[in-house]
Homo-oligomer: 141 residues x 4
């Protein structure tokens, strides 16, 4: 098992521990040091009042991708702050969320994430955002 596979399995295990991620059926598709790619298939109960992806899902995907990206380099982390810019209505059959570490310090990890259409990888993102993550003391998983 190579490093990418080990990292991917570890992030998947963390995600599997989160009941809300299970409810969304969030998939961790890729993980390497400093980056993750998540995938989410549309479901009608993800909608806000006019049928677009609800801000909760947008923010949750951005924050989760930032956290998992940070987790590839810093172990367990918790978000202390996140922000989201909603660039256009989020409507797709499948969403792609890419999280990247911007700077990993000892006390804080800065990460950013992009939410787009899985089937239009170079299209304009629906939303972009960033998070500040704080590494947690070691813990059992």
């Amino acid at each position: 098992m190579n490093d990418h596979t080990a990292l991917l399995n570890r992030i998947r295990q963390v995600s599997a521990l989160a009941p809300f991620n299970q409810w969304m059926d969030l998939r961790v598709e890729h993980a390497e040091a400093g980056q993750v790619i998540l995938r989410l298939d549309w479901r009608d109960d993800f909608a806000q009042y006019n049928g677009h992806l609800h801000a909760a899902l947008i923010g949750g995907l951005i924050d989760t991708a930032c956290g998992f990206a940070a987790g590839t380099v810093a172990g367990n982390v918790t978000a202390s702050q996140f922000s989201v810019r909603c660039l256009r209505p989020a409507v797709a059959r499948t969403f792609r969320v890419t999280g990247r570490v911007v700077k990993a310090g000892k006390r804080q990890v800065f990460a950013s994430a992009t939410l787009g259409d899985w089937d239009d990888e170079n299209g304009e993102p629906f939303a972009v955002g960033d998070a500040v993550l704080v590494p947690l003391p070691e813990r059992a998983g």
Copy 2:
């Protein structure tokens, strides 16, 4: 029916149109010009990996409270930006989310929100945040 009741009913109708709000069983408890109070009862599928409220729910509640508060003064709005500061782990039997308009302009409405414990109204919040909302052209719905 007085103004508060009419406003409350209108915000409840908007919320009822959002499948994700229905899934959460989000309650609009109070609405007046510039302010709303929302209520959410804990459910286990709201959790992240260590049992606290998932960032998606935290961000979704903050954004929704900001949007509904803006809606009391500006009709239909859409969030263009929101940010969340997570002050401490969000664990409660019932959550209270208060949204307030900070400044209502023609092209943008600024709002902020606080997420706390319903049963400890004066306790330290779990999270605070803010949003920039853009009023939408008139529409049915």
Copy 3:
């Protein structure tokens, strides 16, 4: 010398070490545990292209007030993140900036600040903002 005076003197000493604060002629008017009030008199070289207070000054005042407020409870700190909402054009003879600690943790201090008109204390603010501050190891200075 009571505690407030000692705290005020300490914050003034920190501010005096910052050449940019000296250039602005920024005044620390009040300091207590968790809160500071700063004062800045208008000067024409503070302006952006149409005569309002430049975003650099707005952001610098917000960040400095957050940092000094954090400093009243956490010693020396450095900002890792700050954000500013510009609510209306900032035009006044004298500005008042109030910084408050929202939550002081061991690894991070959350603070917020409000920029308004010194001579219209209850008027609508020009800008509001917040910062995440990280306490520094002990140092001379």
Copy 4:
């Protein structure tokens, strides 16, 4: 005079109208549709208390680069919101600030900016940030 030169001259004229930009001696080095590059030479009066670039300058450069980038595609704009992540102490002989439009809508322009060392273009940035800009009605310059 080609388009780039015309755009560069227009942005330089806007910058020249801002007394604070003049005080900083901020240079607009490059402008094309959707992107600008600014340059600032270190001066001792830019420092905060321990000799690094003051948050006012960091935030002001980020906001200005976002605003000028937006201005290349949307005419005159005003910032309604900006946020800054301070990744490491900002110390350099000369600073490079690159601003880019992320999304230009009719009612809002989203832009981001990076602050780095002019002489180490591929080095880790000192700070990154973003802004939401609102286009202004036409006006004389």
